[in-house]
Symmetry: C2
Subunit: 215 residues, 2 copies
Amino acid sequence: MQDLTRPILDRLPRYYHYVQDRLERHGQSTLSSSGLATMLGVDDTLVRRDLAAIGVKGQPKIGYHGEDVLARIRAVLGFEVENHAIIVGAGRLGQAIAAYPGFQSYGLRIVGAYDIAPDRIGLQVGEVVVESVDALEAGLATQHVEIAILTVPAHVVDALAHRLVDAGVPAFWNFAPAHLDLPPHVTVRNELLSVGLAEISYRLRRGNTPPQPHE
Amino acid sequence: MQDLTRPILDRLPRYYHYVQDRLERHGQSTLSSSGLATMLGVDDTLVRRDLAAIGVKGQPKIGYHGEDVLARIRAVLGFEVENHAIIVGAGRLGQAIAAYPGFQSYGLRIVGAYDIAPDRIGLQVGEVVVESVDALEAGLATQHVEIAILTVPAHVVDALAHRLVDAGVPAFWNFAPAHLDLPPHVTVRNELLSVGLAEISYRLRRGNTPPQPHE
DNA sequence: TAGATTGTTAATCGATTAACAATC
DNA sequence: TAGATTGTTAATCGATTAACAATC
């Protein structure tokens, strides 16, 4: 299969949630591309193209089997493979992400949590106990960790991330309000929640010109 | 000024954080487009184009004044105008968002919090006290609310959002793992954190082909 | 003046959509 | 057979980049 580009990677989880909902809550086992499309506000050709790209086959006159769609999305996105992650910065956001519904079933397994504040050390977060950041390297030496989820203040995230790169962590999910720029061999996703606020704030003032594709 | 498209709305907050950091932590008052570009992993022409689009003027041989850039981004995104928001679902994620660094200075003001769980009602979240969702309509009648931040379970978000639309809320920031589809006159941003996990999970398995633009 | 940088027009590239063929 | 839907090729559109002019 061809490498998937950003736009399609952005849509696949949206399809996934929608199909899951139709299947579980409405008992609808087959779906049409146009149904999916109108719900998500995209063109139905795009849906068919996306599904073809990940190897889902539909049936003319019937549509797509929901189970097929879910299975292929899970396979393509790697949800069947378990990824070990640590939370660095065990505040409310870190805890919320650790507990976000569905993440466990997407292969995310939190195997550690670290914080610098003495009053947070020892706290139970999900299945793990918060340790001191001083113990970071020692912890990483005993455990395979694929993803570091960074929920620390912006001014410490850069130094911290480089420390984790040195310790061999291959992927970073950064929620600090700062752009994290790391060597090309590591994977970084800068989540930056303020992007969402910026878009809403902008549209509110402009009378909501929504990003309806090509209209 | 022309309407800004999604891609540029996505980059502006990134520029903003970076410039703020250079200004405050490194005392660097002017910046070059190429400096910004390499840091954020985009082309320097794109940076100049973006800054021109929001009306920032640079000086040949000097670069851009950081303060100008910040001021224009704030003005364009509407950060100078206060937006009143309520949090619906006062769990960890809701609380974390209410307290996210910088949001206050971006014009976001949390004026209410609601939850259905009796043991959360009465809790202090930031400056507000959590009320029962039963009091939602009554609360909205006494207070101007522009944004509803939804941090509720996926299976209740749709009904809840329609209730809020009926009560006149014009914008929604949805963090529930479900796509929210509302009438065209309201602004919706579906945050869907699983998109981030999906991208990281995918890249980890494919040896990290990063989204370096056009390479 | 030479050099560094911004500003802008034209070219390219990639993503989306339109049109239509294929299938059940 | 007619109709509904998927699948795919070609056209379009928009975003990015390359090339270069302008400026200090």
